[in-house]
Symmetry: C2
């Protein structure tokens, strides 16, 4: 299986392990004449909230030759998907899933931190070495 | 010559034809631990302004199989470069150079217009069929 598909399967399974129901794979939407396919849509049911919490997750591998080039594409996807969701499904929270090694290297650089803050990028960190571990930052969609 | 290089040469020549001096090819900068290379830096001298007007131009071909995928990458590049320039060269105006056919198709879609407005994307439209024609939108860097 290609690494890209492997990471997709890994993130999907990890979400399920943590009580999420994957409702869309992919989550497709059409907004303003453009078709989008976000990797996953998922829902977490909670006793306190009738409709549960809904997320969309775009899974990035950061396996390209240049992390900044991968980040350009990921940032553009995140912001375009967010704009599309605002118009069709505004309570669904969007996360960019990134592998732990990219998080511990590229995402610690001052520029990457500034960009994440400026553009309010939400990350879901997965670890190919510990397939069940998931870290949400700046905060998880459910407390 | 690959189309990508052809468009680079075309935009560079068109800028020169319109009185711009290309000062950087590429315009490199390092901000917060990340190295960036924007395709061109250029300056237009004006009698009224001692230091002239300075721009940076990232040239996109939009020749990939998916215009929205090309747009994700272009938007991310534009916003990251803008953030980097803010910290090192804040008066330099950044433009994304796009070919006329992509402007007349993809960029007319309601979603693309919304995204351009939301993220204040400045475009420089070039026309491979009329190599000297340049259109700046929403407004040119000089009047």
């Amino acid at each position: 299986m290609a690494a890209r598909d492997l990471f997709h399967t890994l993130v999907r399974s990890a979400l399920e392990t943590h009580g999420w129901t994957v409702t869309h794979d992919p989550y497709v939407l059409t907004v303003g004449g453009v078709d989008f396919a976000i990797d996953l849509g998922a829902e977490h049911l909670m006793a306190a909230k009738r409709d549960g919490v809904q997320i969309a997750v775009e899974i990035k591998s950061f396996l390209g030759p240049s992390l900044i080039t991968d980040f350009h594409a990921a940032l553009g996807q995140f912001l375009n998907y967010q704009l599309a969701l605002e118009q069709t499904d505004p309570t669904r929270q969007l996360y960019l899933a990134v592998p732990l090694d990219a998080y511990l290297t590229f995402f610690q650089l001052p520029f990457a931190q500034t960009a994440r803050e400026r553009y309010a990028v939400r990350l879901l960190i997965y670890d190919p070495g510990q397939p069940e571990a998931l870290t949400w930052t700046p905060h998880p969609p459910i407390e």
